[in-house]
């Protein structure tokens, strides 16, 4: 856990949405594992924090849930993206890219000269 980064406030929702978009309908545990794997195990995710985030997205209508059966025959609740969720993801991804682009310009060594 030492050099792992905690999840930044507000980015978890975006990661969840992107994960579901890439993987298709997925249960909470799957989402959590996938986020860790995608980050190259650099992120430390307390799995318990995922569930309120999922509930929030569901309340906002970005995702929908349904009980189903997992690959190893366990009953699990699967989350899938709604149309609104897709729109939200596209917009937030764009915003995020823009923000990181701006920041990276500031932080790159030659920044400011151009």
């Amino acid at each position: 856990m030492n050099d792992k980064t905690d999840v930044w406030q507000g980015t978890l929702a975006l990661m969840v949405l992107k994960t579901i978009e890439t993987m298709g309908p997925l249960h909470g545990y799957g989402i959590a594992r996938r986020i860790e794997q995608t980050s190259g195990n650099l992120l430390s995710l307390n799995y318990g924090t995922l569930y309120p985030a999922l509930l929030k997205l569901e309340q906002e209508g970005a995702i929908a849930s349904e009980w189903g059966v997992s690959e190893n025959n366990r009953k699990a609740k699967f989350y899938k993206l709604t149309r609104q969720g897709r729109r939200q993801l596209a917009k937030e991804a764009r915003d995020w890219q823009q923000a990181t682009a701006i920041l990276s310009r500031f932080l790159s060594p030659s920044g400011g000269a151009a």
Partner: protein, 880 residues
């Protein structure tokens, strides 16, 4: 949008749902299983696999807790839980709850009901366009700051002023209207053609008066008040164009006024006619004053500059015409005219209700504090179990809000009832003069007032106990288990509250005492007559006799003799005006005294020979009129004592001659002097009055005064019927006993209302104050039970215990009365306008109030003192 959606879902989540909880448990369980499966696959032992999964999740319960918080709105959920808890707590203490709600509801009821009157009177705008720019115009003479205008003066003011966009005139009057049942007297007003345009009122139906419709050549036209249209013509629009006969003249109905229109200065007139200068010879004379002026200020012109302009014009006219000698002018805002007369009483009543509310709040505050005191342990336990200070305070707030909400519901419902009751008590006559009170109800402004007061009360009831519970010394008190210091602190604080309550009660009692005494004085003012067993009736003779004095007198005699023949009638008289209502004035001079055209203004009444004997007035010198004093004899007059003293100082007036100030007036001989009769308002000094013989100076409008040997009330309908039977063309109206008339005068009425209402407030304040004192003393006794037990065990006699407790109460009572008396001196100055025959600083009233309050307060503290004295030392000590 998505925020709103999420919020709605969370709001829905407030409703308890077992399914969601179950779902969450399932999901977390499935999550753990999936994780454990993975861990097992990675080669962990089953126990380790589960432990790792749980660790990574961060614990099942914290996860559920975070999930739940997101699932609903925690703030609202706490609030709901607090509210449920508060209601449960309040239910468990029905005595406390009922007392608080009733006491506070009472205070709210009184203040909200009185505020509704204040709102209807001063806050609700008058139903005219831009009412603040409207003014009334008056002529002023010495002793009469707001006197009517004469028609020629009105025309000159209208022509010469530089400050008004429009000037109009009106006169409230009665019309004798021909109906199927005979002549009926209806309330009416004559107005100049621009009157309604100046007010900015458009008719609901038909048209307004056209310019020039008030000229003598124009046909007579009339507009109906909305209520009259509904009542007399069933709201039928076909009434337009119909002919109505008023005072014998046909009038065409041209319009109906809107339903919300009223005009208090014309006493809720039903029929509004365009003023015709030919109907009344008064309109041709500059010295005859009967009109009220109405004007609209030009933009940017202040009331003061308008007043200055009118005074300037009046000054010019005074130089120009001898009739205008000593006459000024005055401009008064119309709002002041419409509602000014009840301003004083409303301020007094609102203050009274406010004080009552204050006492109620203080009382409830002490109840709430005592209760908080007894809940210290509960608070300590909750605090020890981790209840945050915010959560504990929010509990107090919630309880206060629940209490106040219940009290507000009680208060508003009863305020509505009280408002109806008060309106019902006002009576038709007084309502006609206060039309702005029609439709009085709980409106937005009144509800806002109630809400503001309730919020303030809720704030006090939540802050007070919260502040008490968390003050540092109380924290120490908690540790001791709630005995000793905390009780002492509370006793001191509660004692201050009781002193405040008692002082407020004193102020209200003094106010009520002064008003009651004024009312008593007013009713016992020397009226110079015996008003009991007098029936009165107003009469308008038909048009057929209008232009003949001989016929007018003959019919009046017929009416008098018909009434005199009725059973139970002792004597009958008539007068142009009844006592206590005021009346016309004349300018006189004494023949043989130097005279330079000054206006010696005296009251003036045409009375029949039996007038003084019927009223049982006192003849001081000379003789009364007889029926022989008629048109064939030289004119004779009777004067009252005030006139004799003012105009015949040091002389015997009987046999002297007087005349009206006009050059053509014939001399009139003084034949008698009567003691002063209250012909004008009860609360004013008697104006010198001149009585002339009706037979020599008749009038086709007059009032009958009938002295009866038995019930005068029962005779009233008989009088009307007898006159109708004589001639259906005679309008006989306004039948009333003299006592009723006196009670209904503005002077008596305003004082009676204020005396009763403030008296009611004061009585309630006394009860609440005594109850508050009882509460504090009883609490003190319960706290000191052990001390008293010890004292008695050591040999103290019950008398000593009484003294101990009553001394404590005595200090509070003395402090309350002393502070209250000082405050009431200030309050009494507020009442000054309503006082009569009693000074604001009235030692008798102050002493009586101090006595009443002391007795009530001592009684209230006697009960706990007796309980203290009957403490059984053994029980008291064992209880510890």
């Amino acid at each position: 949008m998505k925020r709103l959606r999420a919020w709605l879902v969370r709001l829905a989540g407030l409703w308890p749902a077992g399914r969601r909880e179950h779902d969450l448990a399932d999901e977390i369980e499935s999550h753990l299983q999936l994780h454990i499966d993975d861990n097992l696959r990675a080669g962990m032992l089953p126990a380790q696999a589960r432990r790792e999964a749980l660790l990574k999740l961060g614990g099942v319960e914290p996860t559920k807790e975070a999930y739940r918080d997101r699932g609903t709105l925690p703030l609202v959920e706490n609030l709901l839980r607090d509210t449920r808890f508060a209601i449960r707590q309040l239910r468990k203490n029905p005595g406390f709850t009922a007392t608080t709600v009733l006491v506070l509801g009472l205070g709210l009821c009184a203040s909200v009901a009185i505020f509704a009157f204040v709102d209807a009177t001063f806050i609700k705008p008058l139903p005219y366009r831009d009412p603040a720019r409207l003014v009334g115009l008056f002529e002023t003479v010495q002793f009469c700051p707001r006197c009517p205008l004469s028609y020629p003066d009105y025309l000159d003011w209208k022509r010469l002023n530089k400050v008004f966009t429009a000037v109009d005139a009106f006169e409230g009057t009665g019309f004798s209207m021909r109906t199927a049942a005979g002549a009926e007297m209806v309330r009416g007003a004559q107005v100049t053609a621009g009157f309604f345009r100046t007010l900015g009122v458009a008719p609901a139906l038909g048209r307004d008066f056209r310019a020039g419709e008030d000229s003598p050549a124009a046909p007579r036209t009339v507009m109906l008040g909305y209520a009259a249209w509904q009542k007399r013509y069933a709201g039928n629009p076909a009434v337009l164009g119909q002919i109505i006969t008023l005072n014998g003249d046909p009038h065409i109905v041209i319009g109906v006024l809107p339903p919300n229109f009223y005009f208090a200065a014309a006493d809720s007139a039903e029929f509004w006619t365009a003023l015709h200068t030919t109907v009344n010879s008064c309109y041709q004379q500059r010295g005859c004053h009967s009109l009220h002026g109405l004007a609209r200020l030009q933009d940017g012109v202040s009331l003061e500059s308008a007043d200055a302009n009118i005074k300037l014009i009046a000054g010019e006219l005074e130089k120009q015409y001898s009739s205008n000698r000593g006459q000024g002018g005055s401009v008064v805002s119309l709002i002041e005219l419409e509602v000014g007369r009840i301003r004083a009483i409303l301020i007094v009543l609102l203050s009274g209700a406010g004080l009552l509310l204050l006492i109620a709040c203080v009382n409830v505050t002490s109840l709430v504090l005592v209760r908080a005191e007894s809940r210290k342990r509960e608070m300590a336990v909750r605090s020890a179990l981790g209840g945050s200070r915010a959560r504990l305070v929010s509990q107090f707030v919630t309880e206060a809000v629940v209490l106040v909400a219940a009290a507000a519901a009680v208060g508003l419902a009863s305020a509505r009832w009280l408002m109806r009751l008060l309106i019902g008590l006002i009576g038709a006559d007084q309502m006609a003069a206060m039309p702005f009170l029609y439709g009085l109800d709980l409106n937005v402004r009144v509800l806002a007032f109630a809400a503001a007061v309730s919020l303030a009360a809720a704030a006090i009831f939540s802050i007070a106990p919260a502040w008490r519970s968390f003050s540092p010394d109380l924290r120490a008190g908690l540790a001791e288990g709630g005995r000793g210091s905390a009780g002492t602190t509370w006793r001191r604080f509660g004692a201050n509250l009781v002193v405040l309550e008692l002082a407020t009660a004193v102020v209200l009692l003094v106010g009520a005492g002064l008003l009651g005494k004024s009312f008593y004085h007013l009713l016992h003012v020397d009226m110079g007559m015996q008003p009991d067993r007098l029936a009165t009736l107003r009469v308008a003779e038909p048009d057929s006799v209008r232009n003949s004095d001989a016929k007018t007198v003959a019919l009046a005699h017929q009416i008098v003799s018909r009434i005199a023949s009725l059973p139970g009638v002792e004597s009958v008289a008539l007068s142009s005006m009844l006592p206590v209502v005021g009346g016309n004035t004349m300018w006189i001079r004494v023949i043989g005294h130097p005279f330079h055209g000054e206006h010696n203004e005296v009251g003036y009444r045409q009375v029949s020979s039996a007038y003084f004997t019927t009223l049982r007035a006192k003849l001081l010198r000379g003789r009364y009129f007889t029926d022989a004093d008629d048109a064939s004899k030289p004119p004779v007059v009777i004067i009252d004592r005030a006139l004799a003293e003012k105009y015949f100082p040091g002389e015997d007036p009987v046999g002297k001659q007087m005349a009206y100030s006009g050059a053509t007036s014939p001399p009139m001989q003084v034949v008698g002097i009567v003691d002063d009769i209250k012909e004008g308002p009860l609360d004013e000094t008697t104006w010198p009055t001149l009585y002339v013989a009706y037979n020599q100076d008749p009038d086709d409008h007059f009032s009958l005064v009938v002295r009866t040997s038995k019930g005068e009330q029962a005779l009233l309908p008989t009088l009307t019927v007898a006159i109708r039977r004589l001639d259906p063309g005679i309008a006989a109206f306004d039948p009333r006993t003299m006592t009723e008339r006196i009670d209904n005068t503005s002077a008596a009425y305003l004082r009676r209302c204020s005396a009763w209402l403030v008296g009611g407030f004061a009585l309630l304040a006394l009860l609440l104050g005594a109850a508050g004192l009882y509460g504090v003393i009883a609490y003190s006794v319960s706290r000191r039970t052990r001390e008293i037990g010890v004292r008695m065990a050591l040999g103290a006699q019950p008398g000593t215990v009484y003294r101990l407790i009553l001394k404590e109460a005595g200090w509070l009572i003395a402090a309350g009365i002393a502070i209250g008396l000082v405050c009431s001196l200030a309050a009494a100055t507020l009442l000054r306008g309503l006082l009569f025959g009693v000074r604001a600083l009235d030692p008798e009233t102050l002493a009586a109030v101090a006595a009443v309050l002391s007795i009530a307060a001592l009684l209230a503290s006697y009960i706990p003192a007796r309980r203290a004295a009957s403490v059984n030392p053994v029980d008291a000590l064992r209880a510890e």
